[in-house]
């Protein structure tokens, strides 16, 4: 999913998490704990909450689950809808997919047919019941070629999805809803053991009958969209703000107790205000006009010392550079030493300190912590070691290789990457590698990379849904080369086989070790990427006024549990 922010426009998204447990149980090693304990003791207060930290830059393009593709707007979408499944991240080491609107779910042995049993007694904000057919309706709508949402391609997972998306079918043949038995049976187009995670993604949120009354489906989000989540729209959205109020039909106690949700959201009103500039958002916050802000680049220290922040939360995203494996100088088995030298020459700590003021976590792999199956320290060449880098480079040169023209380090302009690249080039020149920056306009950057223009190119990725697969198959699988997000044009049979095997494996531990092995092949045997850091939360908030403001590992604020202090 995309993160629609000026400072870090990156690909982004994530699964809706509504588990408070994550908020309370996690983060036991930092000062977030103190705040959490205080919360429990203080009486929760309602009131009006003004958020300035979510929409920074542009107003959200979409808040319709079928259309949205940004992490920012997902904050709203996730408050308006609840999905089939959710993630229980109460143990951050071992996040788990659990049923939410579904009471339970199961799959057959080869993970091709999934059956979700829907909870009784759930309603949309207009009072109509949430039924299996609500999901069928939503999915047929989301795969309507007329609607053409950015994520509509995910419907390819489902049997008949490709036909539906191509306009050759009116419904998804793989979906059978039985409202009497309250079951939703989904047949997939290929085995996929992580479909339970995907099924909780916004594209798969349910839709009430009312949506069918619209002439133009695109108008759904421009009116008072009806959902089954804890909040509902108070007024139609404008470019200036989105105003939510509690959905009286929603009752958090109808879900499993493990969710720990209140009967109703504490806040009486939740206003998301759009700021055109990160510094404006932050100034407005400091002037007391709102309760949250996004921390602007260069002001992390300032924010940390003056306010509470969510800088201690891992966000499921990776910031890295890809190396083009088909490049005559950089690619191929023969040039592995050069790639190793480059990776080891880069001082990731210095980049994190100088550019991000320590607001990222230096990474040891591509797949970030918080993804089921995550393992620390997969990458062998990611630690800064100028000597080893020098040796590797000398060895490579001794073998008769040379750099005839500066290696191009590419990045998209206007998103704050120039300083990272400046430090990288400085680091590389320290061991004698000649490199030069090549800024490319954001508008064409990723298209060019997808078409093979990458030499050493900046990339960033936020999980679409929290699966290891989403970082491996989508970023380095050979299917994703030539037009996809595999900018390295990395193509390894060994890697592809391991990933394919993992996708069919239903045992989580076995699956995890297969994925880890695959990542090791890509990072250590072949060195197709240079991981730099993992993202952390970037909200600043006023802890004197707000109780229980927590950003989950998935980037979301669980608004129904946020309350104000008296």
């Amino acid at each position: 999913m995309r993160r629609q922010r000026k400072g870090a426009k990156l690909l982004a998204i994530i699964l809706g998490l509504s588990l408070v447990a994550a908020a309370c149980g996690g983060d036991d090693d930092d000062d977030g704990d103190e705040a959490t304990q205080n919360t429990a003791e203080e009486a929760v207060q309602g009131g009006e909450f003004i958020d300035l930290g979510t929409f920074v830059g542009d107003p959200p393009e979409h808040i319709d689950p079928a259309l949205n593709s940004t992490l920012d707007a997902y904050q709203v979408v996730n408050s308006l809808y609840d999905g089939l499944t959710d993630i229980d991240a109460s143990d951050p080491e071992n996040p788990e997919i659990v049923p939410q609107v579904a009471e339970s779910f199961e799959s057959n042995d080869d993970a091709t047919v999934w059956t979700f049993t829907i909870r009784d007694g759930l309603t949309f904000s207009d009072g109509t019941p949430v039924l299996p057919s609500s999901f069928e309706r939503a999915w047929n709508r989301a795969s309507d070629p007329e609607l053409a949402g950015d994520y509509s391609y995910l419907m390819n997972f489902i049997e008949g999805g490709a036909e539906r998306l191509a306009g050759e079918a009116d419904t998804l043949s793989g979906v059978v809803a039985d409202d009497d038995a309250m079951t939703l049976e989904v047949t997939l187009s290929a085995p996929y053991s992580n479909f339970d995670a995907v099924a909780g993604f916004q594209l798969f949120f349910p839709m009430p009958e009312a949506v069918e009354e619209l002439d133009n489906q695109a108008d759904w989000e421009n009116g008072l969209m009806i959902g089954n989540g804890p909040f509902m729209l108070e007024t139609e959205r404008t470019d200036q703000e989105i105003v939510l109020v509690p959905n009286p039909e929603w009752d958090g106690t109808k879900y499993d107790e493990a969710f720990g949700l209140p009967e109703q959201p504490y806040l009486d009103r939740l206003t998301f205000r759009v700021s055109a500039d990160p510094d404006t958002s932050y100034n407005a916050f400091e002037a007391g006009e709102g309760m949250t802000a996004q921390i602007p680049p260069g002001r992390v220290e300032e924010a940390r010392s003056n306010h509470d922040t969510t800088l201690d939360v891992h966000i499921l995203g990776s910031y890295h550079f890809d190396i083009n494996m088909t490049d005559p100088v950089l690619g191929g088995e023969d040039n592995k030493l050069l790639r190793q030298a480059i990776s080891q020459a880069i001082d990731r700590d210095e980049i994190n300190e100088a550019v991000y003021e320590g607001s990222r976590e230096v990474s040891t792999g591509i797949t970030p912590p918080g993804i089921p199956g995550f393992e620390e320290g997969i990458c062998e060449y990611c630690a800064y070691d100028a000597e080893a880098a020098q040796e590797a480079f000398d060895e490579w040169t001794a073998a008769g290789n040379e750099i005839t023209e500066p290696l191009r380090v590419q990045y998209n302009t206007g998103a704050g990457h120039e300083n990272v690249v400046a430090i990288m080039i400085d680091n590389l020149s320290a061991i004698g590698i000649d490199a030069a920056e090549e800024p490319i306009d954001t508008e064409t950057y990723f298209t060019q990379l997808a078409d093979g223009a990458c030499t050493i190119c900046r990339a960033g990725w936020f999980a679409d849904y929290p699966t290891y697969d989403n970082f491996m198959y989508d970023l380095y699988g050979s299917d994703a080369a030539n037009g996809g997000n595999n900018y390295s044009q990395y193509s390894s049979e060994k890697f592809d086989d391991l990933v394919a095997q993992a996708k069919e494996t239903t045992d989580p531990d076995e699956q995890a070790s297969l994925f880890q092995e695959a990542e090791g092949v890509m990072l250590n045997d072949d060195i197709a990427a240079i991981p730099l850091n993992w993202y952390l939360g970037d909200y600043a908030y006023n802890g004197d006024e707000i109780a229980n403001f927590t950003q989950t590992n998935f980037g979301l604020i669980i608004w129904e549990t946020v309350s104000l202090k008296s």
């Binding site: 995309r2 993160r3 426009k9 990156l10 690909l11 982004a12 300035l52 542009d58 107003p59 959200p60 393009e61 979409h62 259309l67 593709s69 940004t70 070629p145 007329e146 053409a148 949402g149 950015d150 509509s152 391609y153 390819n156 998306l165 191509a166 695109a218 108008d219 989000e221 421009n222 404008t238 470019d239 200036q240 703000e241 205000r273 759009v274 700021s275 055109a276 500039d277 510094d279 404006t280 958002s281 100034n283 407005a284 400091e286 002037a287 007391g288 006009e289 998209n412 306009d441 954001t442 508008e443 064409t444 950057y445 990723f446 298209t447 990379l449 997808a450 990725w461 037009g483 997000n485």
Partner: protein, 335 residues
Amino acid sequence: MTSYIIRRLLLIIPTVFVALSFLFFLFFLLPGDPASLIAGGANRAIDQGVLDRINARYGLNDPIPVQFVHYWQRTIQWDLGESFLNRRSVNEILGERSINSIRLGIWAILIEIIVGIAVGLLAAIRRYSIADKLTTIITAGASAVPVFVLGFVLQYLFAVQPNKLGWPEWTKLRTSGLGPDTWTFFFIPTGEQWRYLILPAITLASVSTALLARMTRGSMLEVLRADYMRTARSKGLGERDVVIRHGLRNAMLPVVTLIGIDFGTVIGVAVLTETTFSWPGLGSEIVQAVGQRDLPVLLGLTLAVVLAYALINLVVDLSYAWFDPRIRLGEGENS
């Protein structure tokens, strides 16, 4: 007079047509695939199926001339289309945004006219005084600070700092947003509203106020030396009467020209102020529309700006006749 106005109104048509057609074709020269950018291609590679569906939805696969014809067929019926990006009706977006732009613009222009002319007149009448010299330096200085810097400094001084010092609520001005929407007679901020308006209005007015003061001073100095002024003085009129009755009116000609131009810029290109203060006006939306390849929004909003600009210019030209009866409208144009 009437025929002059009609002729001028007719002239707006080719101007609008050429301007928008120019932008239409310029759009297709911009690098980057619009469909890909609509689908978030500024952040990742996009699935081909999604691209195909977007292209089909917006007719982006049609030959450009066909799209061009379609565009004008829609536009002359005042159907500005649907935003590529958020699929809202452009007519609606235009409605919201132009109201915001006009309100901010009115106040910026009012500040400009009142402060600019007053300061300029004072400096001209008291030429060589300390006040005059200060005016020269301050007005030059005010136009030498980047607008966004001024905006952020004002935010800090009048909103952030009072809040940190714990001053009472009413002393704090607002840094961003439109405020509670409590306007009287469309443009008079009532209650809380003025606290939202004041900083952006001052920021937007800063540079043009300085320029107008300089212009007024120069123009006034010129007029004060003119023969008819000497005549007026010799007739025994008091200096104040001379300045106000004869001087001011004659000195207003270039001043009105400048104000007319400022109206155009206030509505069209107040991007920096709008961005700094998160004021959702036309300028910032237009600039974003170019960057994000949102063609209907770009063309729809620009259409309004071009029309407004042309109409305001017409009013300015008509006002010449009022300020200086010697000017005969229609003369000097295309002659």
